[in-house]
Symmetry: C2
Subunit: 123 residues, 2 copies
């Protein structure tokens, strides 16, 4: 009898945790999600509220999250264009465990900053 492939869920590079990290790990995904926790936003609002993001990256990030069904995109056929974005219920649920990590990160802000500084210095 072949042993059941009960692979450790945290071991390999396709584990669920890794999948989450892949989904939200892009440079601009967290800022976008964060702004959307404040409610429905238009494209231009997102761009204004996320310092440094370019149109290309904003569009790219939004489209990816839309196809992941983490957010919803609603286009109004008017001119000039109007598009609204808001989190799906799945997006809302995803936010919760991220908050835990975010709280930990805030609590360890100084250590994290030191790590990042050390990395930038050694480059």
């Amino acid at each position: 009898m072949v042993p059941k492939n009960n692979q450790e869920p945290l071991l390999n590079k396709d584990c669920p945790l890794r999948q989450v990290i892949n989904i939200i790990g892009d440079k601009w995904t967290l800022p976008v999600l964060y702004v959307l926790t404040q409610g429905t936003k238009r494209y231009s609002e997102l761009q204004r509220e996320i310092p440094g993001i370019s149109k290309k990256m904003l569009t790219q990030t939004l489209r990816k999250l839309e196809s992941d069904k983490i957010l919803r995109r609603k286009v109004y056929p008017v001119v000039p264009p109007k598009t609204e974005y808001n989190l799906t219920t799945f997006g809302d649920k995803l936010i919760e465990p991220l908050c835990v990590l975010a709280d930990w990160a805030e609590a360890h802000q100084d250590e994290l900053q030191m790590i990042c500084d050390r990395r930038n210095q050694s480059k």
Copy 2:
């Protein structure tokens, strides 16, 4: 991720949460950390227990985590070489909030798998 005060520690691309993601977001970091939660491991043990990792990536991942003080590297001056790795207390602490995310990810395994499948399909 819920706004707490007038600060915006989760908004910009250098926020603490983003810093954590940067630190543990590399392809092989989570598998390495996971194996090390089982205790001290030698280089060859890590390589055996992490399917698919190459020597180059294992070394690279370990060195980065060492300079981040997430793990400790102990070299025995013998031949053939012997090197042991284990988590620091900071590494141990880092694991905890990641477990919360990992638990959520496991609970939503199916949805996550669908997202990843859809992404791979559209490529």
